[in-house]
């Protein structure tokens, strides 16, 4: 670690400015921007311009048809959305989705990654491959299969429960269970990916550190707690960040195929509601307004998470 910083110091001092012709100097100043230009153009065209448009549309009333006029309605769209009980319900549900996803998409993969680490290479790979399979199943197919598995009358899960003498559970049509069912399916789909990331990070940990700890008489648990977990913290924080910022979005296809936000709005979340506004009822204004609300809300959340990330992560460098 120390030899690295010693290495960079002399290089910096060697880079002393030397006199240049004005044209060359101009090109030199311009060059980094030229290199950046394609990326910046992509950002502007695909992200910033639509973002600005969404912002403008959120103050307008328009039904997506090119022939119909866009009417300026001021803050009406925001007022109408805040007025809507379904919006608050969706916001609450989004929170439950995130809370439900964190253990499934971060906690469980961490445990799997740590415990499969010490397995013999062959069974470890088989084990991880099995866990990874859900990741490569297309979401809509996965949703359809889960619908059959969970069917209250003919689903294999409920047949099993009935065999044990338990009343069939309405996994998708009971408002108090449906949200957790969707959360579980979303999480199930993510376990493989998160395990892969964590296993890779875990394998990248310098073995000599663990060897040293072992020589000092550290137990397995102490190694995990004091060496592996701190060194995995950047990866863990990245996963937490991804799940919090994107998790509710990943549930979209399952909500759409399995419940369409129902029963009684119990599985809708803010992303699904946004889509329903925009493409279910062709109200671009409402959709854009909720997108702006979402953008601001998650922007703040992301800033908080990044601040947290800087604080709690530990880098081995």
């Amino acid at each position: 670690m120390t030899d690295l910083s010693a290495d960079t110091a002399p290089r910096r001092s060697a880079r002393t400015p030397r006199p240049l012709a004005p044209a060359k100097r101009f090109l030199r100043i311009l060059r980094p921007y030229l290199y950046l230009a394609p990326a910046i153009a992509c950002f502007v065209v695909w992200i910033y311009e639509p973002l600005a448009q969404a912002f403008v549309l959120s103050f307008q009333q328009w039904n997506l048809l090119p022939t119909s006029p866009k009417t300026w309605v001021g803050l009406d769209n925001y007022r109408n959305i805040f007025d809507l009980p379904k919006f608050w319900q969706a916001l609450g549900n989004t929170w439950y989705y995130l809370m439900g996803l964190l253990p499934l998409a971060v906690g469980l993969p961490l445990v799997i990654a740590l415990f499969t680490q010490d397995l013999p290479a062959r069974s470890r790979n088989l084990y991880r491959a099995l866990i990874f399979v859900p990741m490569i199943v297309p979401p809509v197919v996965a949703a359809a299969v889960w619908r059959w598995l969970l069917d209250p009358n003919h689903g294999i899960l409920n047949l099993g429960l009935q065999g044990l003498g338990i009343e069939p559970v309405e996994f998708l049509s009971d408002p108090s269970i449906a949200l957790w069912t969707i959360t579980f399916i979303t999480g199930w789909k993510l376990v493989g990916f998160a395990t892969l990331i964590l296993a890779a990070a875990n394998a990248a940990i310098d073995e000599s550190l663990i060897e040293a700890a072992r020589l000092d008489g550290a137990t397995k648990w102490e190694i995990i707690r004091d060496i592996r977990l701190p060194l995995l913290s950047p990866t863990l924080m990245l996963l937490v960040l991804m799940v919090v910022l994107l998790g509710a979005q990943w549930s979209f296809s399952y909500i759409h195929v399995l419940t369409e936000g129902g029963p009684l709005g119990s599985t809708t979340n803010i992303y699904y509601l946004l889509w329903q506004f925009g493409f279910g009822s062709l109200s671009v204004g409402w959709s854009s307004a909720s997108a702006v609300i979402l953008f601001v809300g998650f922007g703040l959340l992301a800033a908080a998470l990044f601040a947290l990330k800087a604080k709690v992560t530990f880098y081995d460098d």
């Binding site: 048809l65 090119p66 109408n80 379904k86 049509s173 408002p175 369409e260 029963p263």
Partner: protein, 429 residues
């Protein structure tokens, strides 16, 4: 740019069509497109529609019909996009709610402008006048009434017999339905009642009929005030809530409703007659499927709401207009309605074919299913579209509240509906 293109297309079609009538017959081979929503629904109507197209092509060798499946809620957007892209649009199965938009913006042609008066009158002869009237705007036929359906109460006669109910006397009122439901619930595991009242595809069309049957309405006559928290509507929703509380009905998605009924696990199903074909297939060799009229509230008259579509003609080329008009005539002919009624489940808008053994006569004897639907044709209450640019939000908010009031935790139906009524009133134009 897009606007001017559409305006141009519309203007061209207007000048071309008003100036001339179309040729007497199709003499050269032409291909026409038929935008159709029955084609877009897998179980319900695609086969029958393809069959009609095939029969038409066999009888008119010069005409090739290209079916374009489009779900009903996407019709207007899809047509607009295709018009701008220069795709040929000849014939469209247009939901009545979108007909005004089609005439104003999508170049729908008035039949009176292209077809001679005598030929039109000859074809209209025998069709239900109320239906034809629905396709007229400013006195001209922009849409030829095509598919009509009403809500009917399908029921499984075998389940009725099993629990000791009389399949000859299906429940005619909601009270009788509740009693029958209790009986089914007490002795069997079948779901007594499924309804298509709630769900994203239904919006409020079936609910309008339920509330109208109790003497109420979701909106007042001049469409300025929401009225779904008035006593009649509250009473109707409270009745539904009592059914839900008693476990007689459950909040199911449309697929689960349809599958449950077709598989013989549901005793009664209140739903559009348009799914009849699907249910008949499921019932075959499985159970006896019958149908009754929508239940009444006590002795108040039942006011079933109708839903449906018209055929609108969008071709600009006279030869294609003739071809499309020939197809329209075939689809709404006695033969056409024989297929539509027996294989999809829509109403025959030529009622005389029901008696005629050459057409539906024999089929009706074997399938008494059609009778309640036909009987309801007399007292149809047309679906009242909600007004303004926020009409869908109004409808969705209203139906969300009613669904909550029916299946939710809160017993206070009145409070739920009143709150939603005030909220949706603010969205009115």
């Amino acid at each position: 740019m897009k606007t001017s293109l559409i305006a141009l297309a519309f203007a061209t079609s207007a000048t071309m069509t008003s100036a001339q009538t179309i040729p007497e017959s199709v003499t050269e081979p032409v291909t026409i497109t038929f935008y159709n929503y029955n084609l877009a629904s897998a179980g319900n109507g695609a086969d029958a529609t393809n069959k009609m197209i095939a029969e038409f092509e066999a009888a008119n060798p010069n005409v090739t019909v290209k079916g374009v499946p489009v779900p009903p809620q996407d019709i207007a957007t899809r047509l607009q996009a295709d018009l701008v892209a220069g795709q040929p649009i000849d014939l469209v199965q247009m939901p009545f709610a979108a007909l005004g938009f089609a005439a104003e913006n999508l170049g729908a042609v008035a039949l009176e402008d292209i077809v001679s008066e005598a030929e039109l009158a000859g074809h209209f002869e025998g069709m239900v006048p109320n239906g034809l009237e629905l396709g007229k705007l400013d006195g001209k036929t922009y849409g030829l009434a095509y598919t009509f359906s009403t809500p009917v109460l399908f029921y499984n006669a075998d389940i009725f017999r099993e629990v000791g109910l009389d399949p000859e006397n299906p429940p005619a009122t909601w009270e009788a339905l509740k009693a029958a439901g209790d009986q089914i619930k007490a002795t069997t595991d079948y779901l007594p009642l499924a309804t298509g009242i709630y769900g994203p595809t239904a919006l409020d069309w079936l609910m309008q009929g339920v509330i109208a049957s109790n003497g109420g309405a979701v909106i007042n006559a001049d469409r300025t005030k929401m009225t779904f928290a008035e006593p009649e509507a509250i009473e109707a929703v409270e009745m539904l809530r009592s059914l839900a509380q008693a476990g007689i009905t459950r909040n199911l998605g449309i697929t689960a409703q349809m599958e449950g009924m077709a598989a013989g696990n549901t005793a009664m199903y209140l739903q559009t007659s348009a799914i009849q074909g699907y249910l008949v297939k499921g019932a075959e060799d499985n159970f006896e499927l019958r149908a009754a009229a929508m239940p009444a509230f006590g002795d108040k008259p039942v006011k079933p709401s109708n839903s449906g579509s018209a055929l609108s003609l969008h071709s600009t080329d006279p030869a294609k207009q003739r071809a499309a008009w020939e197809l329209m005539k075939f689809l709404t002919s006695k033969r056409g309605y024989t297929i539509i009624t027996s294989e999809i489940g829509y109403l025959p808008l030529r009622p005389e074919i029901v008696e005629d053994p050459e057409y539906l006569g024999e089929w009706v004897k074997d399938h008494p299913l059609l009778q309640p639907n036909l009987a309801q044709l007399k007292n149809l209450a047309p679906y009242v579209p909600l007004p303004g640019p926020n009409y869908l939000q109004i409808g969705i908010s209203m139906m969300d509240a009613m669904e909550m009031a029916t299946f939710g935790e809160d017993d206070d139906v009145k409070a739920t509906l009143t709150e939603a009524q005030e909220r949706t009133q603010r969205l009115m134009p």
